[in-house]
Amino acid sequence: MTLLRHLVAAVVAGAVIWAASVQLNAFRDFQMAEIAVYVVAIAGLSMLIGLSGQISLGHGAFMAVGAYTAALLMLHLNWPLWAVFPASAVVTAAAGAVVGLAAARLHGPYLAGATLMLAVALPSLAVQFPGVFGGDQGLSVTVTTPAALGATFPPTRWLAWVCSLAALITLVILANLARSKVGRDWRAIRDDPVAAALAGLNVARLRVLAFIVSAACAGLAGAMLAITTSLVSPGSFTLSLSIALLAGAVLGGLGTLIGALWGALVIVLVPTYVTDVATSHGFSGGVAANIPIAAYGVVLIVVMLLFPHGIQGGLRRLARLLLSTPPARLGSPGQRQPAGELTEDPNAPYRRPPVSEHQEEGTS
């Protein structure tokens, strides 16, 4: 049974994480929590893009919604963590529903542009209502380690535990969703929305559902981010965050959950490492800080051009090569056309249709 398999995997992973967290120092525990945050956010985005074929450049904004929700609930209502996390997810899911409804009819670049606008515009809401959202300074969040663990229990380890647990639960849910009928329906509308509609699928509803799920993940990740960094401010949710999430999803492998782990690892670990290396080689702080940014760009371009299936896809291909199993159909977007004798074939599987065949470009 799929659910059982996923639960077992989660338990095993949980055990490994627990063991590691005890061994690692405080900073590494903190990074573990950070990684968990991004795993959740990237997994949601990766599902949206890889399974349902919709793109979002605004997931940073959803994280902001979740983070602010969490901060407000904890500050004003003193809600405990186990209630705050689901609440943040639900509130952000509602936001995702609104965006999804608006976006259900949009395709490709139009959708990307609209979500981009969202990412740019939403942080200014916090500044607009400083009384509620704390303006530019933001809101500070405190998390206390439960007394049951003892007074000397390192708070970062508690964060690592909480975040890892949340991440594992999310991954199990997503894994089941991906294997369920909903997941198959998503793939269908991704690959050929017209055929899917003809087969009776409600394309718009599925699209909105994908946005809801993906936004919920981002909201949860935002709440997790709030407790790890203890501060929620507009500056944490800039466009760069949305782009980093996209980079993580693409690099890890769109549509795969393990890919979310690879992507999160890269996003959390690589930039500080690169900056350290750069500074130790004599580059100034400003330059060194920009190198990871430039590197994201290179990653996005190179991966899309040469390895459209990301790390996970590369690993799968490697495994296939080593085990000599017949090639599985990965079926994620960005798949190349069959190479070979083609120069330009008018009847090939994907052809950008001539302008005159389109009535309304951006909508279905």
């Binding site: 981009l116 606008m117 466009l239 920009n290 470009e361 951006g362």
Partner: protein, 292 residues
């Protein structure tokens, strides 16, 4: 009333910058059906290059010309290397690649020039103009901004309508398959389209950087608003890009002036969503007949 006049005129000037970005987006969209998310970043880079030249030579106009030339080269280079492979693949690939370019170019700008806000010179004086004793709210430079974009747009229109190159650009954009059958070197034509878009984008950067100061991500919000303007006008319509830019510029200036500058991007979002939901093909799109 004076305030309204000032906001209107100022909005026109700003709007022309959005129009320029929109125009370059439309140019690329028509030719390759790709939305170039790095258009703003490209403009940042060319503006930095202009600034370097200006500081070196002391001449604004030298920097101006070099920036435009750099825009041409940059556009052509990007199309030939990074865009060509994704032109015939699903749209997601192009979106990710151009986002990657956005990030890469901004990162490179940060590495070479640093992240601090730099002031950028204007072509003409920025003292307010007056009609008699009424302050108009715009300066000579603002008039130059509007005029420069208009001139470039008209030149482009002339290129398209009256020259063989323009005919090739249009044919390749409308029907690349038929054009190839007729011997049009579609690849070269597309490169030219991107080069021209790079030039227009560079112009936009030069015109707006004095207002926003120049730093690696200074064109991010301008780009988003330029995209909104293009959508309002219709991604296929160069005329729509200009009109959309003007409308957006003026409306947003009212918002900024009467309601506060913080609300501008939110309003832009509302405007974008409104257009996308009500009339997604934009104001000026020609409803195309279906192929027989």
């Amino acid at each position: 009333m004076t305030e309204f006049l000032q906001f209107t005129l100022g909005g026109i000037s700003f709007g022309m910058v959005y129009a320029a970005i929109a125009l370059s987006l439309v140019l690329i969209w028509r030719g390759t059906r790709i939305l170039n998310y790095s258009q703003g970043a490209m403009a940042v880079l060319t503006s930095y290059i202009a600034l370097t030249v200006i500081n070196h030579t002391g001449s604004y106009w030298e920097g101006f010309v070099v920036a435009l030339a750099a825009g041409l080269v940059l556009g052509a280079l990007i199309e030939r290397t990074v865009i060509r492979p994704v032109e015939n693949r699903p749209p997601l690939n192009a979106v990710v690649v151009t986002i990657g370019l956005l990030v890469l170019i901004e990162g490179i700008a940060g590495i070479i020039y640093g992240g601090q806000y730099r002031s950028f010179p204007t072509a003409f004086s920025i003292t307010g103009l007056h009609a008699g004793s009424v302050p108009l709210g715009i300066s000579r430079n603002d008039v130059f901004v509007a005029g420069a974009v208009l001139v470039v747009a008209l030149a482009l229109a002339a290129l398209f309508r009256f020259t063989a190159t323009g005919l090739r650009l249009r044919a390749a954009a409308f029907n690349p398959y038929a054009s190839r059958l007729l011997g049009v070197r579609v690849g070269r034509v597309l490169t030219l389209g991107w080069a021209l878009a790079g030039l227009i984008g560079a112009l936009a950067g030069l015109l707006v950087s004095p207002n926003t100061f120049l730093y690696p991500s200074s064109m991010d919000s301008i780009f988003v608003l330029g995209f909104t303007a293009a959508v309002i006008g219709g991604l296929d319509s160069p005329v729509g890009a200009i009109v959309g830019g003007l409308i957006l510029g003026v409306v947003l200036n009212y918002v900024g002036g009467y309601l506060g500058s913080n609300l501008v991007s939110i309003f832009g979002l509302i405007a974008l969503m409104a257009v996308l939901l009500i009339r997604p093909s934009g104001l000026f799109s020609v409803t195309r007949e279906r192929r027989v």
